[in-house]
């Protein structure tokens, strides 16, 4: 199993996609910090204070979840798109193990991109705030929880991406499907059900509980567990599909 996870990670490292996504996320992270620092104290925004650090650092959290989801979907559907799944299954006929290795590899990939991005935003945010005379320290309480939640969400999103990819196989359909689900369908479901209290149980709301804790969401732990359960469900169903379908 270790060698399969290693093979998946080498697959990821030997194409440009991963570096592109990582670089884009780091750049996006620096931009969000810069925008928030510049906007602070103006036009009704709260001025910078010691407790604004976690919010600054974790501003790209939702985007990081999206990036991990993207990597997972592309990692799984790319095998079908480029027909590399044939060689993958010839090498490892036990398809369940292939998907399991991908789940582990892309959870890790999501976390790696998040670690890189958060490391850079943390350094930029603390040094910028200190330069502006707002004394902050990375040891401040609150920061750890935000970082942990963001990393967990990114890892789980990588896993969900692989599960969705295994289920849908078609790259464009999987990407569009996930986007439409998060942006349109969850909202539509909410208004149809006419029960706002149910909304927090839907997948992207559960993920948001990890990255943007607020009153409307579940608690961090409940949201994390629920989202992990969604990820596992997608993966199990997706794996079953992958095992049964012919590779032609």
């Amino acid at each position: 199993m270790t060698r399969l996870v290693r093979a998946e990670l080498v697959k990821l490292r030997t194409i440009r996609l991963f570096y592109g996504v990582a670089a884009a996320m780091v750049a996006f992270g620096v931009l969000t910090v810069a925008a928030n620092v510049t906007a602070a104290g103006r036009q009704g925004n709260a001025p910078l204070a010691a407790h604004s650090l976690p919010g600054l650092v974790a501003a790209p959290a939702t985007m990081l979840s999206g990036a991990a989801l993207l990597l997972g979907i592309l990692g799984m559907t790319g095998e079908f798109r480029h027909h590399t799944i044939t060689q993958t299954f010839l090498t490892t006929p036990d398809r369940g193990r292939v998907v399991a290795a991908k789940l582990a590899a892309y959870a890790l990939a999501g976390i790696v991109v998040a670690v890189l991005t958060l490391a850079v935003t943390t350094v930029v945010a603390t040094s910028w705030m200190n330069a502006k005379g707002v004394s902050v320290s990375v040891l401040d309480g609150g920061l750890g929880r935000v970082l942990g939640g963001t990393l967990l969400a990114a890892g789980l999103c990588g896993l969900v991406g692989v599960g969705v990819g295994a289920l849908v196989r078609n790259q464009v359909a999987a990407l569009v499907g996930v986007l439409v689900w998060a942006v349109v369908i969850e909202g539509l479901l909410l208004s149809l059900l006419n029960a706002p209290s149910l909304g927090k149980w839907l997948p992207s709301a559960a993920a948001a509980a990890l990255t943007n804790p607020s009153d409307g969401h579940l608690s961090r732990w409940a949201g994390g567990l629920l989202f992990a359960a969604y990820g596992l469900a997608f993966s199990v169903v997706g794996t079953r599909f992958v095992i049964r379908r012919d590779v032609t």
């Binding site: 060698r3 080498v10 480029h82 044939t86 299954f89 490892t92 006929p93 590779v247």
Partner: protein, 299 residues
């Protein structure tokens, strides 16, 4: 000993029966041509043999086991299925590295097989920029990674230029000389005729014949082509002698399964002038076409 055993193999896609109760065996060390027109079910058969497609009925075994039950499949079986199954952004060496890692093969194998197929100069180039011939070589290199004793190749000559086909023939011969068992599919008999020991011919998903190449050659027929102004008059005379004779033009007859002597005597007896006459032998390709054609399967 049979290395590959196909037994009653059947695959149905919806209403279409792609493979229909196919059975044949391939013995150790044999190079077998797996022949049939496009759509005969060759690819589906090979994909079932390799565990990629689940049969509707029947079994396909390699060394007595279904492919999916082989503990280290790449060490036993190397396969070339389609030339485009690479990520375009990955280099040739990295592609082979990924497969070696997943298969638990030594790191050095990637460079060894690249040299074997003559791709060492292109090892660090992205596959997206490869020509079809180079992709085919890389596919062969991938098949050889585990140094397998069995090779399964699906239309490896497809899309290759004449030079590539020449190279491929030599390479297959070289692999066969090392005692490997090779099953190579093609829709053109001539492509593999120089390389194979035996042929398995299928059409419409069913076995047409399995025979040695020598036995297939024996089925080629002697024909006599005659040019005469009285073709209309000569033809019934030949037919009366039990010879299959067909008009091949206003002044030409092709008589099958006979000799120039017989035709000449028949013409002389009737006082028919002959301008030109010659013996021809139908080639293997014609035998193949006849076997797999619309009236095929009558052997």
């Amino acid at each position: 000993m049979a290395v590959i055993t196909i037994d009653g193999l059947t695959k149905r896609f919806g209403d279409v029966i792609a493979v229909d109760g196919l059975s044949f065996e391939v013995d150790q060390g044999m190079v077998t041509g797996f022949l049939g027109p496009n759509g005969a079910g060759k690819t589906t058969t090979l994909r079932m043999l390799l565990g990629l497609v689940t049969p509707t009925a029947g079994t396909a075994r390699i060394q007595g086991r279904p492919y999916r039950e082989l503990a280290a499949p790449l060490r036993h079986v190397g396969a070339v299925l389609e030339s485009s199954s690479f990520h375009p952004g990955r280099t040739a060496r990295n592609h082979l590295r990924v497969v070696s890692i997943a298969a638990g093969l030594p790191r050095a194998r990637a460079d060894e097989v690249l040299a074997q197929v003559g791709l060492d100069q292109a090892a660090d180039r992205r596959v997206g920029g490869f020509s079809l011939g180079m992709r085919q070589r890389l596919a062969l290199a991938t098949a050889l990674l585990g140094d397998p004793e069995v090779l399964v190749l699906d239309e490896p000559a497809n899309g290759l230029d004449p030079e590539g086909i020449h190279w491929l023939r030599g390479f297959l011969r070289h692999l066969a000389d090392q005692g490997r068992t090779v099953l190579v599919s093609s829709h053109v008999l001539a492509e593999v005729a120089q390389t194979v020991d035996q042929v398995v011919i299928i059409a419409h998903g069913r076995l047409v014949t399995q025979s040695t190449l020598a036995a297939l050659s024996a089925r080629t027929e002697q024909a006599v082509r005659v040019r005469t102004p009285d073709a209309e008059a000569l033809r019934p005379l030949l037919v009366a002698e039990g010879i299959q004779a067909d008009l091949a033009g206003p002044d030409q007859i092709v008589a099958i399964g006979t000799t120039t002597e017989t035709v000449g005597q028949a013409a002389a007896a009737a006082g028919i002038v002959i301008y030109e006459m010659g013996a021809e032998r139908s080639n293997l390709e014609e035998v193949f076409l006849e076997l797999t054609g619309p009236q095929g399967g009558t052997s």
